[in-house]
């Protein structure tokens, strides 16, 4: 029976059917649901690792240990895991190992739109790229065969439209491979120079064999039709092309590294005009040119930025756009906002009020950069807040450390904030780091992490104490302050005190995410319009539930969760709980 499955759920089903036993990942949109879905199968051990590097190393160890293993991450996560990636290419595996990486063309939820295919080429690893959920399932299973046949980790690349689209899949039973024995073999597994020199030879031999495989694998598919035009494509771009050109000849590549040579040359010879259609970088196009195939169009038509779609493909190929009637005036943008009741709101209001420079990080709290809170001044990558602040304050000297803070979420602190804090403390910095502990990994949709006391499978786990960890790093106990970000006065006082010190400080702003099921919304607050003077102080916190109506503030009862922050802002005392007003 056919089922509708999310691309990510289909990868998880593929893991199950392929007999995968070990999953380790760090959440990252659009890859997160693979691990969440895999965790639902009793036969699969699945965990959240503190970061992608750890996840990949754990999966490498599991593959050495003889079990089919898996790790998943978003495109920027692969940067974090690049170190083990390149050397796992040398060691190879024992049982099969699969690495899923999800790219985000168009940056729906990312800080850049890098193209992960370059990693496969640079690390000399095979890469497969499915175009829908059925292929997610099928390619996952085939990837394990490739991994074991060629003794190599395999990368499975998806993108947002494959990972987060549902389409039909056919389910099969699980096949349970035996745990393979681990045989000591330092020449293969101990990558010191003498051994690695030998393994590099193996890698290059493997590349040659993989190239032969690329010529014949069913993952690459020629669909001959009208030969006046032929497209070479892969992944989601195939779907757009087929929708626009139902009769065109298409070479659909499912095995995208190493790319075939003869297959492409033969296809090119059969069509009058050859176009390469791919999102992001000219990966396939450059390969075609390198092997002497004449390309009649590629990035010059489709561009380097953003996502494609059927209409973008059609228009750039010179076809007419479908008739459309737009609204008669400008429609205001609706950027994402911190949720009503978000514990981060009070902190960003306070930082904005104090006028400090804020080194930001990756998470919901990146939204603290948007008006009216407009508090965050930098965001680069996971963990870059504390280390970035340290560099900034070191070169600027003087009062800089007294006017600059960093903000890091609990999960991000576990990911790579700890080493940043060590850098600050070890090198005698005096900056103030704020850790926003909302008891969950928020932006990716509520994943557990080492501070929450629960695992991915939902079982109890030891919880890392952020306070004690900071103390062990060398921050003095009196400089580690825990404060409730709903308590605006106390919060401001604590930030002022810690900024004034000539020693490193950590402020832990602690309150659970308002969307957690255990956080019960309070009754919506109400405004006494007789008392409201229209000063708009309550608007400064940027709560989506508050707006101004006829000069008076109004609270939307369907959005308000009664967090009381606006009550603290209201000088005339016009906002109250239902029974009080």
């Amino acid at each position: 029976m056919k089922q509708l499955l999310l691309g990510n759920a289909a990868v998880a089903r593929g893991l199950y059917e392929a007999g995968c036993r070990f999953v380790s990942a760090y959440p990252g949109t659009p890859s997160t649901e693979i691990s969440e879905q895999a965790a639902l199968y009793d036969e699969i051990y699945a965990e959240w690792a503190p970061n992608e590097k750890v996840a990949m190393e754990a999966a490498i160890g599991a593959a050495f240990g003889g079990a089919r293993s898996f790790c998943a991450m978003k495109h920027v996560g692969l940067n974090v895991a690049a170190d083990p990636l390149f050397t796992a290419s040398y060691t190879g595996v024992n049982a099969g190992m699969l690495i899923a990486v999800a790219d985000d063309p168009g940056m729906h939820s990312s800080q850049n739109e890098q193209d992960s295919r370059h990693y496969a080429e640079a690390a000399k690893l095979p890469m497969v790229e499915p175009a829908d959920s059925a292929e997610c399932l099928e390619f996952t299973k085939i990837a394990y065969e490739i991994s074991e046949q060629f003794d190599t980790p395999v990368i499975l690349r998806t993108c947002t439209r494959v990972a987060h689209s549902q389409s039909l899949v056919e389910l099969s039973e699980r096949k349970e491979p035996e745990l393979r024995p681990f045989e000591k073999n330092p020449r293969k597994y101990v990558m010191m120079p003498g051994n690695a020199i030998g393994r590099h030879v193996v890698v290059e031999e493997r590349q040659a064999k993989l190239l032969e495989y690329a010529e014949t694998t069913p993952l690459n598919r020629v669909e001959m039709g009208d030969t006046s035009i032929g497209f070479i494509t892969s992944g989601t771009a195939y779907q757009y092309l087929r929708e626009v050109f139902p009769n065109a000849s298409i070479l659909k590549l499912g095995f995208v590294n190493p790319l075939p040579v003869k297959l492409i040359q033969d296809f090119a010879a059969k069509v009058d005009r050859l176009i390469v259609c791919e999102e992001l970088d000219p990966f396939i196009e450059n390969h075609c040119r390198a092997i002497g195939v004449k390309v009649d169009g590629g990035k010059d038509i489709f561009g380097l930025q953003g996502e494609l779609s059927q209409s973008r493909v059609a228009q750039r190929m010179g076809l007419e756009a479908k008739p459309a009637v737009d609204f008669s005036e400008a429609v205001p943008a609706r950027p994402p906002v911190l949720c009503p009741g978000c514990p981060h709101r009070g902190l960003f209001y306070t930082l904005h009020k104090l006028g400090v420079t804020v080194f930001g990080d990756i998470g919901c709290y990146t939204l603290g950069a948007l008006p009216p809170l407009a508090a965050v001044d930098t965001t680069v990558c996971m963990g870059a807040s504390i280390s970035g602040m340290h560099g900034f304050n070191t070169v600027r000297g003087g009062e800089s450390a007294k006017n600059t803070v960093s903000v890091t979420g609990d999960s991000t602190f576990m990911h790579s904030g700890i080493t940043s804090l060590i850098d600050l403390v070890y090198n005698n910095g005096s900056s103030t780091a704020i850790i926003l502990d909302n008891s969950i990994t928020g932006m990716t949709g509520h994943q557990q992490n080492p501070t929450t006391g629960k695992t991915l499978k939902g079982t109890p786990a030891p919880a890392v104490s952020i306070e004690r960890l900071c103390e062990a790093i060398g921050v003095k106990a009196e400089n580690i302050r825990v404060v409730d970000p709903y308590a605006l006065k106390e919060l401001e006082q604590v930030v002022r005190e810690e900024l004034a010190k000539d020693e490193p400080s950590v402020i832990i702003a602690r309150r659970p995410c308002a969307l957690l099921p255990e956080v019960k919304p309070q009754p919506a607050l109400v405004v006494d319009t007789d008392k409201c003077v229209g000063c708009k102080m309550c608007m400064k916190i940027g709560c989506p539930a508050i707006s101004v109506n006829d000069g008076k503030c109004a609270i939307d009862p369907t959005l308000c969760v009664g967090c009381d922050l606006c009550i603290q802002m209201c000088r005339p005392g016009a906002i109250g709980k239902t029974q009080e007003v």
Partner: protein, 194 residues
């Protein structure tokens, strides 16, 4: 071979558009169609403009719906209906929940929420049905049921039998909320037929 049909569900992150698309997807799947759904996760879910696409037919390729392609647009909020109007196919149907949620640029005063959005859409010649889904959801028992009320309205325009919709509801909502959601669906269905 039947033509591929395209439906868009648009709204504000947190309004439950994902559940609506999943109910729709399972109803269409049970009728033997090829179905694709495209969802948005991550940052946009935090109160931003969100859109999910549902497509069905004999064979569906692209999972997304582009400008001028939607047979139906189900908008959970007025301004979002205006934003996505250009995605409606000529002759397509627009269903709008008559609810206003101010985006942050409007709250901060950087932009104006346009007046008379629904009248202006109608003046552009679009087939539009506006529904006060929030009131109907509250009548059914919870403001959270706005999504199922709107699926009920859409169902009233589609040629799919009631038992198919009921099974789709059963497959997608928690048992303890099933009765409330069935009531919400029925209220939406009746509003659509009016």
């Amino acid at each position: 071979m039947s033509e591929t049909k395209s439906i868009m569900i648009v709204g504000v992150g947190g309004q439950g558009t994902l559940l609506a698309s999943r109910i729709l997807g399972s109803a269409l799947l049970s009728l033997g169609h090829d179905v694709k759904l495209s969802e948005v996760h991550g940052m946009s879910q935090r109160g931003g403009s969100v859109v999910t696409y549902v497509k069905y037919g004999d064979k569906v390729y692209s999972p997304i719906v582009d400008r001028g392609e939607a047979d139906y647009i189900l908008s959970f909020e007025r301004l979002e209906a205006a934003r996505w109007l250009g995605w409606l196919k000529k002759g397509g149907e627009l269903i709008v929940n008559d609810q206003r949620i101010n985006p942050m640029p409007v709250i901060t005063g950087a932009a104006q929420y346009p007046d008379g959005v629904l009248e202006k859409i109608r003046a552009l010649g679009a087939n539009m049905l506006d529904v006060d889904a929030l009131s109907l959801a509250l009548e059914a028992g919870s403001s959270k049921a706005v999504n199922v009320v709107l699926i009920g309205v859409l169902a009233s325009m589609m040629d799919i039998s009631e038992d198919v919709w009921m099974r789709a509801l059963e497959d997608n909502v928690k048992p303890k909320f099933l009765e409330m959601n069935k009531k919400a669906f029925a209220l939406g269905y009746a509003a659509g037929k009016r």
